[in-house]
C-alpha cells in the first residue's frame, strides 16, 4: 500500500488560516490502513483544528467526509454537493487523492494534510517499511523475492557494496543489507547459482525516468 504520515500540525494550521469553512476529506484505502488519513484520523484532525481555533477565541466550520477512494473520479464526485459551501479543501489522502480532488474542483484550494512516504508493507502493529519503488520492471523473480531496488540503499543489482557490515547496511545498523537477505534466501531455496547471474544495467524508463508514467488498457479504456 501507499504509506503516509500526517503533516506537522502548524503546517496544516497555516494552510487553512485564511479560511473559515473547511471540507476535510479522508480516504478509506491505503491511508486508512496506515492510520494517516482514514475516518478516524479525519475526526482527530478536525477535533485538533477546533481546539486550535478555540484557543484563539474563534470557531471554524469543518465538514468531515471520508471517500471510498480519493484517487477515483467516481468517488471524488461525491464531494460535489459540499464544495460550493466551503472555502477550502483539506485532503488526508496520498498525493494521488489530493491531485484527483484538485483536478475535479478547480475553483477550490486543496491542501494536503499528510506527507506521502512510500509503497510499503506492514511489519507489525504501527510499523511499515518500504518494499517497492515502482521501478516498472520487477526483478523479484530472480532475487529470491527480496527487492534490491527498494531495499538496497544504493539500488545495486549485482551483489552488495563494500559498505555492508555484519549483514547490515552502512547507513545504519537497523537496515538489513538487501543483498545479504537475497543471498540467504537463495541459499534456503537451493538457488545459489542465480546469485552468479549478472544483471544488465537497469532501464529506469518504466520507473519514471522517461516522464510521468501512464497505463492505458485498451480493453478497459
Amino acid at each position: 500500500m501507499i504509506t503516509a504520515e500526517q503533516k506537522p500540525m502548524q503546517e496544516i494550521i497555516q494552510y487553512i488560516a485564511p479560511y473559515s469553512k473547511i471540507l476535510l476529506v479522508g480516504c478509506n484505502e491505503c491511508v486508512t490502513v496506515c492510520a494517516a488519513g482514514g475516518r478516524k484520523e479525519v475526526g482527530l484532525l478536525a477535533s485538533a483544528l477546533h481546539l486550535n481555533h478555540l484557543k484563539q477565541g474563534k470557531t471554524i466550520d469543518i465538514k468531515e467526509i471520508t471517500l471510498e477512494r480519493q484517487c477515483d473520479p467516481e468517488y471524488v464526485e461525491e464531494l460535489a454537493p459540499y464544495i460550493d459551501g466551503v472555502d477550502a479543501v483539506v485532503s488526508m489522502a496520498c498525493g494521488c487523492g489530493v491531485q484527483t480532488v484538485a483536478g475535479r474542483y478547480k475553483k477550490s484550494p486543496v491542501f494536503p494534510a499528510v506527507n506521502t512516504r512510500f509503497m510499503g508493507a506492514s511489519l507489525g502493529q504501527g510499523v511499515w517499511a518500504e518494499r517497492c519503488k515502482g521501478c516498472g520492471d520487477c526483478v523479484l523473480g530472480i532475487t529470491g523475492g527480496i527487492c534490491p531496488v527498494a531495499r538496497c540503499s544504493k539500488h545495486l543489482f549485482n551483489g552488495p557494496c563494500g559498505g555492508t557490515s555484519n549483514g547490515q547496511c552502512e547507513i545504519g545498523p537497523e537496515t538489513d543489507c538487501a543483498w545479504r537477505l537475497i543471498w540467504e534466501r537463495l541459499k534456503e531455496l537451493g538457488m545459489e547459482d542465480r546469485y552468479e547471474d549478472l544483471m544488465n544495467a537497469k532501464d529506469w524508463r518504466p520507473g519514471g525516468a522517461a516522464g510521468p508514467g501512464k497505463i492505458i488498457r485498451e480493453d478497459l479504456a
Binding site: P8, M9, Q10, K40, G43, L44, S47, A48, H50, L51, N52, L54, K55, G57, K58, T59
Partner: protein, 145 residues
C-alpha cells in the same frame, strides 16, 4: 475564576479502576463530584478521538484509568491507552493547550483510596489550569448536536 468548577471525564476500565471507584464508594471515601466516570471494557478501547472530543465539547480535563502494569485483562490494553494519552498530550502541546489536561493513571480493583486521591489531585490540577477548550467560546452548538 474562584467559582470555576472543572468538569472532568474519567474513562475507567471495568476490571480495575471502575471497581476501585466502587470500592471507594463501599468504603465511604468521598471524591470530587467533578469527575464523571465512563466505564469501558478495557482502556485499550479508549482512542485519542475520545479524549479530544471530550475536551472539544466541554470537558476541562480527561483521564484514563487502567490496570496496573502487567495486569491488563486483555494483556496490553493499558499500554496502548497510555501511548494514546501521550499522543494527545503531544497534540495539545502543539496546539498551545496544556498537556496536563489529559492523564493516564493505573490502579488495581482494590485501590479505592488511590482512586479517590487521583480524582482529588486531578481535579485540583485542572482547577488551577482553568476552563478547557470547549468552555472558551462557541461550543454550545456542537455540544448539543
Amino acid at each position: 475564576m474562584e467559582t470555576f468548577e472543572p468538569e472532568i471525564v474519567a474513562f475507567c476500565c471495568h476490571y480495575c479502576a471502575y471497581t476501585a471507584a466502587d470500592m471507594a464508594g463501599s468504603k465511604r471515601i468521598s471524591y470530587p463530584s467533578n469527575v464523571k466516570i465512563i466505564r469501558v471494557p478495557c482502556t485499550g478501547k479508549v482512542d485519542a478521538i475520545h479524549l479530544m472530543k471530550a475536551l472539544e465539547i466541554g470537558a476541562d480535563g480527561v483521564y484514563v484509568a487502567g490496570c496496573l502494569a502487567g495486569d491488563c485483562h486483555f494483556k496490553n490494553g493499558n499500554v496502548r491507552a497510555e501511548a494514546r494519552v501521550n499522543r494527545v498530550k503531544k497534540m495539545l502541546t502543539e496546539l498551545g493547550w496544556e498537556p496536563e489536561r489529559v492523564a493516564m493513571v493505573k490502579l488495581s480493583a482494590g485501590m479505592g483510596e488511590q482512586f479517590a486521591e487521583t480524582a482529588r489531585k486531578f481535579t485540583e490540577t485542572i482547577r488551577k489550569l482553568g476552563p478547557g477548550p470547549g468552555k472558551r467560546t462557541g461550543i454550545d452548538d456542537r455540544a448539543a448536536s
